[in-house]
């Protein structure tokens, strides 16, 4: 069987979490069909990407030491098709791409890039920034990414992972165009299964008995919910460290509570930015059509929806913020109660351990030994005697 590597390098916010979850949970089934998705934990390929790109990431990177080389070795050793997938690979520099491709050995490499129109990607990326501690306003975010200098951290990152022709130039310039697969996201309102069908066809997963239950997704927030989270960030990011922010704000508040506001207005682009994004996308579509890549879906999907009603998240009033704010307070109280229960259980365990120790110390023999030890510890000679005794008994404490 020929060795192939399907290297899925982006983009963020294109259904990658769901794809990676399906691949992770179905590793055994995939292996039975000669497909390797080498991951001992859900975020294994994320760690490999951090390692490849020397990206410190709030402390998680310490778990990534050597992760890329281990992943590449497993891929080199596999006899059939291997899949590597993480969206932040999109940011790799040309030098890192050279290293990555060289480390995959002589396998036939196929590059996969899942892409979505800028009209939906820009608001989604702002939300993602807000879910990662940023309190930049939407207006400033838009100005930042439209600044052609791309001098800011946000601007340079955004374009590094969202500028489709550039990502494909960096990752795909050494590959034949038919080995570069562009999976476009269907327009809003399409059949929910269509994206999976496109992924499935591209990765050769059709007809495999995979468990497709959605266990892990990256849900989006409505306009008032995102505005609330941004306001909360203004207050807390300077006093809540990343290891606490992740479970309390990102998971408990954003993913488990505020994302339930399904009736809220969805975030879009202001009319002028909408027109700019569509014009830019049109240019990209022409460049991509010329390159002759394998397109799964349609390049027209990249143009994005027509302008619709726009709700400005920077102008959300207090009355709109109140319902999600109450939901947030409720969720945090429930979480605090859960943590109190954990704390109480630990105290109880500690109490039991101490009682057990005290019972053991109640014997007259123990009390006598304790008195001798306490007396000896009061002088250097006594300490020396005790040390010698402990050495003889083979004890240190």
């Amino acid at each position: 069987m020929s060795r192939r590597v399907l290297l899925h390098v982006g983009c963020p916010k294109t259904g990658t979490s769901y794809l990676q979850d399906v691949l992770f949970r179905n590793q055994a089934v995939l292996r039975e069909h000669d497909i390797l998705y080498p991951a001992d934990r859900f975020d294994a390929h994320f760690l490999a990407a951090l390692d490849l790109m020397t990206l410190p990431w709030g402390g998680i990177e310490t778990e990534a030491v050597g992760a890329w080389d281990r992943l590449a070795e497993q891929v080199r050793d596999w006899h059939g098709t291997s899949i590597i997938s993480h969206e932040i690979f999109a940011r790799a520099t040309p030098t890192q791409v050279e290293r990555a491709l060289a480390s995959l050995g002589d396998a036939e490499v196929h590059l996969v890039l899942s892409v979505r129109d800028l009209v939906r990607q820009i608001p989604a990326e702002w939300q993602e920034n807000v879910k990662h501690r940023s309190h930049i306003t939407y207006g400033r975010f838009l100005r930042t990414i439209r600044d052609p200098e791309r001098d800011s951290r946000i601007g340079s990152w955004f374009w590094a992972v969202q500028e489709i022709p550039d990502i494909l130039e960096r990752w795909g310039s050494s590959l034949p165009p038919e080995h570069v697969h562009l999976v476009t996201l269907p327009p809003s309102g399409s059949d929910r299964g269509e994206l999976w069908r496109r992924f499935s066809r591209t990765f050769g997963l059709d007809d495999l008995p995979l468990d497709l239950t959605a266990e892990r997704e990256n849900p989006s927030l409505g306009v008032p919910e995102t505005a609330l989270l941004r306001t909360v960030n203004e207050r807390v990011t300077s006093v809540i460290a990343p290891p606490d922010y992740r479970p309390l704000v990102r998971e408990t508040l954003a993913h488990q509570t505020l994302s339930r506001g399904v009736a809220s207005a969805r975030l879009g682009l202001p009319p002028a930015d909408h027109a700019w994004a569509r014009e830019l996308s049109q240019g990209w579509i022409e460049v991509l059509a010329d390159r002759g890549y394998d397109v799964v879906g349609s390049l027209d999907d990249l143009l994005g929806p027509e302008p619709g009603p726009y709700a400005d998240p920077d102008a959300v009033g207090a009355d709109e913020l109140l319902p999600p704010a109450l939901d947030a307070i409720g969720a945090l109280l429930v979480e605090a109660a859960r943590l109190r229960a954990v704390e109480e259980r630990l105290h109880e365990e500690l109490r039991e351990a101490r009682e057990e120790r005290d019972r053991a110390r109640l014997t007259p023999a123990y009390r006598a030994r304790r008195k001798v030890v306490t007396t000896l510890e009061g002088s250097p000679a006594g300490r020396g005697t005790l040390d010698a005794y402990r050495r003889l008994r083979g004890r240190t404490g």
Partner: protein, 382 residues
């Protein structure tokens, strides 16, 4: 991409400049008009950050910063490392050179001479982290434990306690043992905070000094190692077995020795460089090995004479109030004090520098890349 098809193209000129720098050249990109027939070392032209850093390194070699008798092959190996080193962190992607035709997408081309010190440091910190990991941790001298030693547990000022703990271990007086004295080492609170952040930089790394300090100011809390009362509680210290030491001259007596070596406070540039290196070491070595590697760097990092970090004026009022509160809590706890709790009050001059600028840090980094004696010479105790 076939860069050498058209000999007159700017792409060829770029590869020529790369070869020029690789051979030790120092001509800035905008002044570069030559060609070099050497085959390009890599298919892609490295980023402006890597190229400019290499040019600055070559300038440092020219100015005599490198060791005498440095061999060409070492310099070529170093050049290749610089050109392939990534820029650490979520900053800018590798930047293309201005003047080389580029598509309308991708990062905007730049003049490498205008790349900021901050960007160059992202590359330099990777090189130094790799050097440190290759060097490995210095062995920590140990000696058989003296049975008559005084049992102690050191808490408080991390710069002092880390150095003292290591020194005492080498003289047969390891920390711990049954019923130890908890010795809490205090200092003027502004210095204690600065020492704590500085030592963090030489352990696991930290956020920048200003952000780290603001974190505690806005929480109105003290970091674990600065809060002496909490530190004593954590080690189960009870009143007769606790000593709060604010007079460092009397610290040796509290741990059962006649003297301890003087502790050197790293400069703001050294701490900032260590902070950046620690972040990369976290990606290169198992987490348990990082403190020993960073302690090795702390012993060996080059001296520059730059002052240590200091508390900015905006936070001094909070520091003074926190020092007073800490003193009250220690006083109420009734722990024996060696020195005077009034010495916890901040004492830095009003015009003390808050930290190092990126150029100072870059100068230090380039000096250490060019001159490897910090790696090759025997360690000195610091």
């Amino acid at each position: 991409m076939e860069p050498r098809k058209d000999p007159g193209s700017d792409q060829v000129r770029a590869h020529g400049w790369v070869a020029h720098l690789r051979a030790g050249g120092t001509t800035p990109w905008l002044a570069w008009t030559g060609h070099d027939d050497a085959a390009p070392a890599a298919r892609a032209v490295p980023g402006a950050q890597q190229l400019e850093l290499l040019r600055r390194i070559n300038l440092a070699f020219e100015s005599g910063a490198g060791p005498r008798g440095d061999h060409d092959d070492r310099r070529t190996r170093l050049a290749d490392r610089v050109l392939t080193a990534p820029a650490a962190g979520r900053g800018k992607a590798d930047l293309p050179l201005v003047g080389v035709p580029a598509p309308s997408y991708g990062p905007r081309p730049v003049d490498p001479a205008g790349v900021s010190a901050h960007e160059l440091l992202r590359v330099a910190s990777v090189l130094l982290a790799d050097d440190l990991v290759d060097l490995g941790p210095d062995p920590v001298p140990t000696s058989w434990a003296r049975p008559w030693r005084r049992r102690f547990r050191l808490v408080g000022d991390p710069l002092v306690t880390v150095a003292a703990r290591e020194h005492l271990l080498g003289r047969g007086r390891p920390e711990g043992g049954p019923r130890p004295f908890v010795v809490a080492v205090g200092a003027p609170l502004d210095e204690l905070l600065a020492h704590t952040w500085t030592q963090r930089c030489f352990e696991h790394g930290s956020r920048p000094w200003g952000d780290w300090l603001r974190f505690w100011v806005e929480r109105d809390q003290l970091p674990a190692r600065v809060d002496l009362v909490d530190s004593v509680h954590r080690w189960g210290g009870r009143r007769p077995f606790v000593r709060v030491v604010t007079d460092l001259a009397q610290l040796p007596g509290q741990v059962g020795v006649r003297h301890l070596p003087a502790v050197r406070t790293p400069g703001a540039d050294q701490a900032e460089l260590a902070r950046r290196i620690a972040a990369v070491v976290g990606l290169r070595a198992p987490v348990a090995e990082r403190p020993a590697l960073m302690r090795t760097l702390q012993r060996r990092i080059s001296d520059t004479g730059v002052a240590p970090v200091g508390v900015p004026a905006a936070q001094r009022e909070w520091v003074a109030a926190s020092a007073a509160r800490l003193g009250r809590h220690l006083s109420r706890a009734g722990y024996p004090v060696v020195g005077d709790l009034a010495d916890l009050a901040p004492r830095a001059a009003v015009d003390a520098a808050a930290g190092a600028d990126d150029q100072q840090v870059l100068d230090l980094a380039i000096g250490m890349i060019v001159d490897p004696t910090w790696r090759t010479e025997r360690q000195v105790e610091r």
